[in-house]
């Protein structure tokens, strides 16, 4: 419990944590608030008018866009120790190295889940507000507030654990954060849309699966059929498995390396 308390202090003392939360909220709000406007303009051409309940679900789904910042929380939980040279103090207090790493894993999972939940709730609030400007908008097809909140908690926790693993493998903070951003913002999203056969097994595809969205859009450049993605439960299992692999990697690398 001492180590968990210490890790919570390390997470909540720095202003940086609140900056990351604001960034996650900003990206969630932007995505969720802008999508009704986009769909009102081009949604009919995509068979996604705001009169379609599935389209409304997709509007609310944009509120989960902040999940990448859960990964960053996980990365920083580990790399900031090496960036600030506080790893020595941490491992002097708890020389059995799996113990502080386990504390980091627990705190990163809770922190990532909370961050993603808050960003998602604010994002969904902004989506609900934005939709009031479109009288034609119908009610969502599913209980988006409850369903997406649960998805936010799960994805925030697991993606933060993946971040812990990345941070343990790549101790250089700038490199670890940059690689995470480029992968999740760019490569993962491109694969999820353009190469669904691969992308559906990667984080963005799995998050899409978890939201259980139902739409089929065929366009001139890209086509998206959510039926191509995994069902929610297999996606949950695979996402949790990714988290477990990265947690294992974090524990193993921490036990083997000398502390500089």
């Amino acid at each position: 419990m001492n180590l968990i308390k210490a890790e919570f202090l390390k997470l909540f003392y720095p202003r940086r944590t609140y900056g990351i939360l604001l960034a996650a909220i900003a990206i969630s709000v932007l995505g969720a608030a802008f999508t009704p406007y986009a769909l009102s303009k081009i949604g009919s051409g995509m068979a996604m008018p705001l009169t379609n309940a599935a389209a409304i679900d997709s509007v609310y789904s944009k509120a989960l866009a902040g999940y990448i910042f859960a990964v960053i929380i996980g990365v920083l939980t580990v790399t900031s120790e090496f960036n600030n040279h506080t790893a020595i103090a941490t491992y002097l207090a708890a020389p059995k190295r799996w113990q502080p790493m386990l504390a980091k894993i627990i705190v990163a999972a809770i922190g990532g889940a909370l961050l993603n939940l808050v960003a998602t709730l604010v994002g969904m609030g902004s989506a609900a507000y934005a939709l009031t400007f479109y009288p034609e908008a119908v009610a969502p097809a599913s209980n988006v507030w409850l369903d997406f909140s649960l998805v936010a908690l799960l994805t925030g926790a697991v993606l933060s654990l993946i971040g812990v693993g990345i941070g343990a493998l790549i101790r250089n903070q700038n490199a670890a954060v940059s690689i995470s951003f480029v992968w999740l913002f760019l490569i993962d999203r491109i694969l999820a849309v353009l190469f669904v056969d691969v992308g559906k097994y990667l984080p963005t595809g799995l998050v899409t699966s978890l939201m259980n969205l139902k739409f089929n859009y065929t366009g001139p450049v890209v086509s998206v059929n959510t039926g191509d993605y995994l069902e929610p439960w297999p996606a949950t299992g695979l996402l949790v498995a990714y988290g477990a692999v990265f947690v294992l990697a974090a524990l193993l690398t921490t036990n083997r390396r000398d502390i500089d």
């Binding site: 001492n2 210490a6 003392y13 720095p14 600030n84 103090a89 207090a93």
Partner: protein, 234 residues
């Protein structure tokens, strides 16, 4: 009473032998200076002692145990290894609170220690604004948080002004008089001569002299003795 024991300690990085068969005993209630030129293996030996690096062979024990076997490490051993080892975006007090939490130490210890190291006025300032001397004082406060019986200090006088050095010397003497074991590595030989009771001198990873300072120096200055032992003497 022997408190710290190095037993044929070896540490190798690739082909480089950083510590080469170090064996020494360090007594409680005394201040032991750990001396050697840059790259001699002092910091590596201390890291092995504190469980931060794994010895290639041999051992380094504290009261008969490896550091990793101590049940309450922060309350048994205090260490200063890296004065930059604080989160720069946090205040001195916040950094100490985190260390208290990790070590299971009551935060009531923080205020008197900050007073003792004369950092109370700067306690609520972020450590990125601290001078080297202030970080050194904060490191000492951190090492003393758990009121440990053993102190391992790597260059504790770095960045301290003459008043700070005199303060450090007196503090170490007071702690040794309380029966604590103090192992201090330093390059400041003139200062060490006035501070330590015993010395260990290593060069290229090997122990080349150890014992009470008077016995090792034989009437010469510590600096002259050191320079002649490491082959750079007059």
């Amino acid at each position: 009473m022997t408190s710290i024991v190095f037993q044929d300690l070896h540490k190798q990085y690739g082909k480089f032998q950083a510590v080469d068969g170090l064996s020494a005993n360090i007594e409680a209630g005394r201040i032991t200076g750990f001396l050697g030129p840059n790259g001699a293996g002092k910091s590596t030996a201390l890291r092995c002692l504190l469980g931060l690096a794994t010895p290639t062979s041999g051992s380094a024990l504290l009261d008969g145990k490896k550091y990793t076997q101590l049940s309450h490490p922060s309350r048994e051993v205090g260490a200063v290894l890296d004065t930059s080892g604080f989160n720069r975006s946090l205040t001195g007090r916040q950094n100490l609170k985190i260390m208290c939490a990790a070590g299971g130490i009551n935060t009531d210890r923080i205020a008197p220690l900050l007073e003792m190291v004369e950092l109370t006025p700067a306690a609520n300032k972020r450590t990125k604004g601290y001078s080297l001397g202030m970080r050194q004082r904060l490191s000492l406060a951190a090492a003393l948080l758990g009121d440990p019986q053993i102190l391992v200090l790597d260059e504790p006088a770095n960045g301290l002004d003459p008043i700070g050095i005199a303060w450090l010397r007196q503090m170490l003497r007071d702690l040794a008089n309380q029966g604590k074991t103090i192992l201090v590595s330093s390059h400041q030989l003139a200062e060490m001569q006035h501070t330590v009771d015993d010395v260990l001198i290593i060069n290229q990873g090997k122990l080349i002299a150890d014992g009470p300072i008077a016995q090792v120096t034989q009437g010469r200055s510590l600096e002259d003795t050191f320079l002649s032992l490491v082959g750079a003497g007059k």
